[in-house]
C-alpha cells in the first residue's frame, strides 16, 4: 500500500486569507504506464499548476528477485541473468560480474580476453550513450528522429554482438577467466569499421542537436545536480562527471587493460541536463579512441583461462567486490562465498541506475512537469537494473 504523497509530505500553498488566490495542488502519477518513464517506473508528482513541488519515485514494478535467484544458483548460472539487469548493456554487466568472481576466485584473465572485453565494453558505451541521447530527445518531443538515428548505429554494434556472442542484447558473453567465444578476424574488421564510421554519425548527430536552440533552452540550467550533492549521494558515471566529479573507474581502478590505453575523462561544470547530454557525446568520442587503440593492440592468444571449470566451479570462502565503469556508472557486484562455494552466499548488485535515481526529487522540484521527464531521461535509467 503506497501512501498518497500529499499525506506523506504535506504541502500547502499560501492560503487564501493573505490576498493570494487560493489554489490546489494536483497530484499526478507519472507512470507506471507512461511513455517517458523508460519502463514501469512511477513518479508521484505534486504539481502546482505546471511546477513540481514534490516528487516521489516509486520503484519495484519490475522486481524479479535477481539477487535471491543468484544465491540459489551456481556461479555461472547468474551470468545470463546479469544480461537482464541493464538490458541495454549486457556486455558490461557480464564483465562486472565476471570481474567480481575472478577477484574472489583469483583467476588470471588472458591478455586477449581483456582486450576483447575492453572492445565490447566500449562498443556498449557507444550504443548506450547514443541511445540515451536519443531517448532523452524523445522525451523532449523530437518525435523519434534522433532516437532512430541512434538505433540505426546501434544496429551495427548489435549485429557484431550477434555475430560474436549469438544474441543481440542478451549476450551472455563473458565467462570467468575470459570470454566465451574468441573474436575472429572478421569480427575485428567489423569492429574497426564501426569505430571508423561512428565519428561521422556523431558529427551528424551533433549537428542535429548540439546547437539546436530549442534543445539548449530546454536543457540548460534544468535539473542541476551540484557537485557536493552528487558526491554525497554516491552518484557515478557520466552523471557525476557532468557535475564535475572527476571519478572514472577506468582511471581509478585501471581494471582490465585500461591502464595501457590512452583516453581522457571529460568533465562538466554545472551538472544540468545539457551537461549530461554533452558529456555523453564527449565520452563517446573518447570511447572511439579507446576502441581504436584496443583494436590495434589486441594480441593473439587464448580467449579464456584454460584452468577455469565450467561446471562444479567452486570458490573458496571469502568475499569480494568487483566493479567496473559501466555506461551508466559504477556497476559493482559484491559476492560472498561460504563453505562449499558452489553458489554465492550473498550476491549484491550495486546498480548505477538505481543509485543515480535517488536524487531525482532534488533535481526536479521547482521545474516544470515537462522537465521531469527530461531530467529522468538524462539520469539514464533502465528499470531492469533499478528494480532487479
Amino acid at each position: 500500500m503506497i501512501q498518497p504523497l500529499t499525506d506523506a509530505k504535506p504541502y500547502t500553498l499560501t492560503p487564501g486569507s493573505n490576498g493570494v488566490i487560493e489554489t490546489q495542488t494536483l497530484e499526478v502519477s507519472i507512470g507506471p504506464q507512461h511513455p517517458s518513464t523508460h519502463g514501469v517506473f512511477r513518479m508521484d508528482c505534486v504539481l502546482d499548476g505546471e511546477s513540481v513541488v514534490a516528487l516521489k519515485p516509486v520503484m519495484g514494478y519490475l522486481h524479479r528477485n535477481h539477487e535471491q535467484l543468484a544465491e540459489r544458483m551456481a556461479w555461472l548460472g547468474s551470468m545470463p541473468y546479469t544480461d537482464r539487469l541493464d538490458y541495454f548493456n549486457s556486455m558490461t554487466n557480464n564483465w562486472a560480474y565476471a570481474l567480481a568472481v575472478e577477484k574472489l576466485a583469483g583467476i588470471k584473465v588472458p591478455d586477449r580476453a581483456e582486450y576483447i572485453r575492453v572492445i565490447m565494453a566500449e562498443l556498449t558505451r557507444l550504443l548506450n550513450h547514443s541511445c540515451v541521447i536519443g531517448f532523452m530527445l524523445q522525451d523532449l518531443g523530437a518525435w523519434g528522429t534522433p532516437l532512430l538515428y541512434a538505433f540505426r548505429e546501434r544496429e551495427r554494434i548489435l549485429d557484431l554482438y550477434e555475430a560474436v556472442s549469438g544474441s543481440r542484447m542478451m549476450c551472455n558473453y563473458m565467462r570467468f577467466g575470459g570470454v566465451r567465444v574468441n573474436l575472429t578476424d572478421e569480427n575485428l574488421a567489423t569492429a574497426k569499421d564501426i569505430a571508423t564510421r561512428f565519428p561521422r554519425f556523431l558529427d551528424e548527430f551533433e549537428k542535429l542537436l548540439t546547437n539546436n536552440e530549442v534543445l539548449l533552452a530546454r536543457t540548460q540550467r534544468v535539473g542541476v545536480l551540484p557537485k557536493e550533492l552528487a558526491i554525497n549521494a554516491g552518484i557515478s558515471g557520466p552523471m557525476a562527471r557532468a557535475s564535475g566529479v572527476d571519478y572514472d573507474l577506468r582511471k581509478v581502478d585501471k581494471y582490465g587493460v585500461y591502464g595501457r590505453l590512452e583516453f581522457r575523462v571529460p568533465l562538466g561544470d554545472i551538472g544540468d541536463v545539457y551537461d549530461r547530454y554533452y558529456i555523453r557525446v564527449l565520452e563517446m568520442r573518447e570511447s572511439i579512441k579507446i576502441l581504436q587503440q584496443a583494436l590495434r593492440d589486441i594480441p593473439q592468444g587464448p580467449h579464456i583461462a584454460p584452468e577455469v571449470k565450467l561446471r562444479n566451479f567452486k570458490i573458496p570462502p571469502g568475499d569480494g567486490y568487483g566493479r567496473i565503469e559501466g555506461p551508466k556508472g559504477e556497476l559493482g557486484f559484491y559476492l560472498v562465498s561460504d563453505e562449499g562455494g558452489k553458489q554465492p552466499y550473498r550476491y549484491h548488485v550495486r546498480p548505477p541506475s538505481f543509485i543515480n535515481l535517488t536524487i531525482l526529487e532534488d533535481m526536479c522540484v521547482g521545474h516544470k512537469v515537462a522537465d521531469v521527464v527530461v531530467i529522468l531521461g538524462s539520469v539514464d535509467i533502465v528499470l531492469g537494473e533499478v528494480d532487479r
Binding site: M73, A74, L76, G77, S78, M79, P80, Y81, D83, R84, T145, Y149, R152, E155, D159, E162, A163, V164, S165, G166, S167, M170, N172, R180, V181, E204, K207, L208, L209, T210, N211, N212, E213, V214, L215, L216, K309, L310, R311, N312
Partner: protein
C-alpha cells in the same frame, strides 16, 4: 553562436539529407521488410535449444542425449525437464523418454549447450516460434526437439564440423581401446547379443535381437551396430578377466578405458552391475552403482566419482544425476555396508 535559429536550421539540413538519402543510400534506409525479406542470421546466432541425432532413419535411437540431466540441473531458469527412458523391466535406457523445454521460460542463454559433455544439445537459430496459446503450446517435446546432425551442420557449419571431428576422434580412441578386448570375445558376441540391449526405436522398444536382417537399418548402420554391440557384449562377458585389472583404484580415473570394468555399461541394470562388481573393492562397487554414462554431471567421470567417494574426497552422494535416487540410495547403502558412513 551566430543568430537564434541557426541550430534549428542546421538540424533541418540534417533531416533533409536523411530524407533524400533514404532514397539513394542503402545506409540510410536500414529497414528490412520482415516477412518478405529476412536478415541472414550469423552462424553464432542462438535462439532455442534442440537435440542432435545422427541418423535420419532412426532419430530416437541415434540421438546423442543420454538423459544425464546435466542440462536440467544447470539450466538457470530451469526450463528443461527430463525423464530417463526405461524398458519394461525398469532398466534405464541411455536416452530420455521425456525431454521437454518450456520455451516460454527458456532464456536462450546457451548454458545447456556449454555444459553438455555429449554435444547432444545445440542452439537453433529459428526465431519464429510464435504459438496461439501460452501454455502447452510453448512447451517443446522430444519429437519437435530432435533435429538431425545434417541440420546442425547446415545452420552452424563451422561449429558442427569441429564437433563432428571431435566426436570422430573420441569414437576412434574408444574403438582403439575397445578393440583388444573385443577381439577375443568376437565369437561370443553373437550369443551375448540378446543380453546387450541396443538403443531401440520407439516403435519397437522391446526388440531384443541385435540386428535382424529385416531391421530398418542400412548396411553400414548394421555393420556399425554389430561392431558396437560386440564391444558391449565383449565387456559384458569378460567380467573375470577384467575385474582384477580394474581392481586397483589407484588407476588414473580420468583416462579410464572403457571395458576394463565389466559393469561399466549403462545398458545393464543396477542389480546386474552390482553382481558383476561383487568381488571387487569398495570403489568398484560404488562405481558399479552409478549410471555408467560418464556424463560428468558430478564433476568427475564414473570412475573418478567412485574413487573420490571411496577416498573421502567427495562426501556428497547425490551427485549422480542419471542414476537418480536409485544410485544415491545404493551409494549410501554401500557406504554404510563398508562402515564409512
Amino acid at each position: 553562436m551566430g543568430f537564434i535559429g541557426k541550430g534549428l536550421f542546421e538540424g533541418m539540413v540534417v533531416t533533409a539529407r536523411n530524407f533524400v538519402g533514404s532514397y539513394f543510400d542503402k545506409e540510410r534506409l536500414v529497414t528490412v521488410q520482415y516477412p518478405e525479406e529476412r536478415v541472414q542470421v550469423p552462424e553464432n546466432s542462438r535462439t532455442f535449444p534442440f537435440l542432435v541425432f545422427d541418423k535420419d532413419s532412426d532419430p530416437v535411437a541415434s540421438m546423442r542425449c543420454v538423459a544425464c540431466k546435466i542440462c536440467e540441473v544447470e539450466c538457470p531458469p530451469q526450463c528443461i525437464y527430463i525423464v530417463m527412458d526405461r524398458d519394461e523391466k525398469g532398466k534405464p535406457q541411455q536416452r530420455p523418454k521425456v525431454f521437454d523445454i518450456d520455451i516460454s521460460v527458456c532464456m536462450q542463454c546457451q548454458i545447456c549447450v556449454e555444459v553438455c559433455p555429449f554435444d547432444a544439445i545445440k542452439m537453433d537459430n529459428n526465431y519464429e516460434k510464435s504459438q496461439y496459446g501460452r501454455f502447452d503450446e510453448l512447451v517443446e517435446h522430444l519429437p519437435e526437439l530432435l533435429k538431425s546432425n545434417e541440420f546442425y551442420n547446415k545452420i552452424k557449419p563451422t561449429e558442427a564440423t569441429a564437433v563432428d571431428a571431435k566426436l570422430k576422434a573420441d569414437a576412434e580412441k574408444k574403438a582403439k581401446k575397445a578393440a583388444p578386448a573385443a577381439k577375443p570375445a568376437a565369437t561370443a558376441a553373437k550369443p551375448a547379443a540378446p543380453a546387450a540391449p541396443k538403443p531401440a526405436p520407439v516403435a519397437a522398444p522391446t526388440a531384443k535381437i541385435a540386428i535382424p536382417d529385416d531391421a530398418p537399418f542400412t548396411p553400414e548402420q548394421r555393420q556399425w551396430l554389430s561392431g558396437y554391440l560386440s564391444t558391449v557384449a565383449a565387456s559384458g562377458v569378460a567380467p573375470a578377466a577384467a575385474a582384477p585389472v580394474a581392481g586397483t583404484p589407484a588407476a588414473p580415473a580420468t583416462e579410464a578405458p572403457a571395458g576394463n570394468w565389466p559393469w561399466h555399461d549403462p545398458g545393464l541394470g543396477m542389480q546386474r552391475r552390482l553382481d558383476l562388481a561383487k568381488e571387487t573393492p569398495i570403489a568398484d562397487k560404488l562405481m558399479a552403482a552409478m549410471a555408467q554414462t560418464d556424463c560428468h554431471a558430478c564433476g568427475y567421470d564414473c570412475r573418478g566419482y567412485a574413487d573420490a567417494i571411496a577416498t573421502g574426497a567427495e562426501t556428497d552422494l547425490s551427485l549422480c544425476l542419471p542414476g537418480e535416487a536409485e544410485t544415491a540410495n545404493m551409494l549410501k547403502k554401500l557406504m554404510q555396508e563398508a562402515g564409512k558412513l
